[in-house]
Amino acid sequence: MPTLIFTQQLRRFIPAPEVTTAAATLRAALEDAFGAHPQLRGYVLDDQGHLRRHLTVFIDGRRLRDHADLSDPLQPASKVHVMQALSGG
């Protein structure tokens, strides 16, 4: 099952535990995480549901392609890291 791992920096503000999901896309995986931890949504996505400008996601070591729709596919054993982008300072 894919696993979502959130940057430790988030834990300065809110709980952000690892989440295991059966989702097949990044969007669906994040929705699973938000379902379990509703406060996470506003920290990860912007008003239009896009990934925040200064966050990035790596799926099995590769940076995501689709910031807007988050349509990147996941494999059954994917490790997904939600991280701060250095553009945010």
Binding site: Q9, L10, F13, Q39, G42, Y43, V44, D46, D47, Q48, H50, R52, H54, L55, Q84, A85, G88, G89
Partner: protein
């Protein structure tokens, strides 16, 4: 007389307080985090602090009276973006909250109501002390909004919210760059309120267009709410008729310093008195001759004086942002916070200034409570 103020800075919220004639500063929360503005609601004693977390977005926190703990509450959220009209000349901004630039309490006749001015160019209303927010769609859908543009930031921002103490359905808001707008029906409808202003940075044929004016800040006299003061991008204006007509008073300020700057503080009781912090000009945003001064008029802008005692008069490069100057309800106590992290206080209307710190983070906003 005792006084307390909140200082919103690049790296945390601070509180300045004066007791027994002595000023002190203390951390008030969010050390290390950017605090874009704060509000003390005198109706119920709650304090609000808006954060602008670089990675994780804008957050809003509330502190209940007589407590030290902050709790995160709701933030303004823009509705789903609608595609721009096909004949639109300008690409629309992204409908995503970038910053809470101003917060204001509704009137005593509207308990629980708060207003938030945002980047990009939005006004939001809360009816439940900030737990939930709604975009004031009538202003967002104002037909001239595509003509608004960024002033200081890439996108337009709403920085001034003046709630009429006589009737809280009467609001004036100021936008850089998007002019000033007045509603008399609680935000259902809006009218431009910049007659008399001119934009020197526009082609001459568009200089008097309402939607391109850049009021850096608009302040209202609490006791005479028809009197407004505006530090504009290219001058200073005053209105004595509820923003129906603005009179340029900048030349008298130029005679003693400059009429460029960002901040203005209106005397709460005397409609003829206001303070400004001048810089050289829009091209060079540093104090004139590297010497900091505050300009004050006490005759409605006919004349100004430059007040310098206690302010650095050499090698000073402090700039004061638009929310970085404030006057207390007593009309005599003033605070300035600068981009260099300096804070000065005056207890006598600006005649003399005292340095409270030269080592704070860059100061975004100062507000008394």
């Amino acid at each position: 007389m005792n006084a307390r103020a909140l200082l919103s800075t690049r790296k945390g919220l601070f509180e300045a307080s004066r007791e027994g004639g002595h000023w002190s500063l203390r951390e008030a929360g969010f050390a290390g985090e950017p605090v874009s503005c704060a509000l003390h609601d005198s109706r119920d004693g709650a304090v609000y602090a808006a954060l602008n977390l670089g990675h994780f977005g804008v957050k809003l926190h509330r502190r209940e009276p007589d407590t030290e703990a902050w709790s995160e509450i709701g933030v303004p959220v823009y509705p789903p973006q609608q595609p721009a009209q096909q004949d639109a000349q300008q690409k629309d901004v992204e409908w995503t909250l970038q910053m809470i630039w101003s917060l204001a309490a509704g009137g005593n006749d509207a308990p629980g109501v708060l207003w938030a001015g945002t980047l990009p160019g939005g006004l939001f209303r809360s009816a439940d002390r900030g737990t939930s927010w709604e975009l004031v769609r009538s202003l967002w859908d104002e037909p001239s909004r595509p003509e608004w543009f960024g002033g200081g930031y890439d996108v337009p921002g709403l920085h001034s919210i003046c709630v009429d103490p006589r009737d809280s359905r009467h609001l004036l808001v100021g936008i850089s760059c998007g002019g000033a707008w007045v509603t008399r029906d609680g935000g259902a409808s809006w009218k431009a309120a910049v007659a008399g202003m001119r934009a020197a940075y526009m082609p001459p044929e568009r200089a008097e267009e309402p939607a391109v004016q850049d009021p850096h800040l608009i302040a209202q006299c609490r006791a005479s709410p028809d009197v407004y003061w505006c530090q504009h991008h290219n001058g200073i204006w005053r209105s004595a008729d509820g923003a129906g007509r603005w009179e340029e008073i900048g030349p008298a300020a130029r005679a003693v310093a400059s009429d460029f700057g960002f901040a203005v503080a209106a005397h709460p009781a005397d409609p003829l008195t206001a303070w400004f912090v001048p810089a050289i000009a829009d091209e060079r945003r540093i104090p004139i001759d590297a010497a900091l001064c505050v300009t004050r008029t006490r005759d409605g802008g006919k004349s100004f004086e430059a007040l310098r005692e206690g302010l650095p008069q050499r090698q000073c490069y402090d700039l004061v942002y638009r929310h970085g100057l404030a006057v207390a309800p007593d009309g005599r106590t003033l605070l300035i916070g600068s981009t260099t992290g300096s804070v000065w206080a005056s207890g006598d209307g600006g005649e003399r200034w005292e340095l409270l710190s030269a080592h704070l983070p860059p100061v975004y906003a100062v507000t008394f409570f």
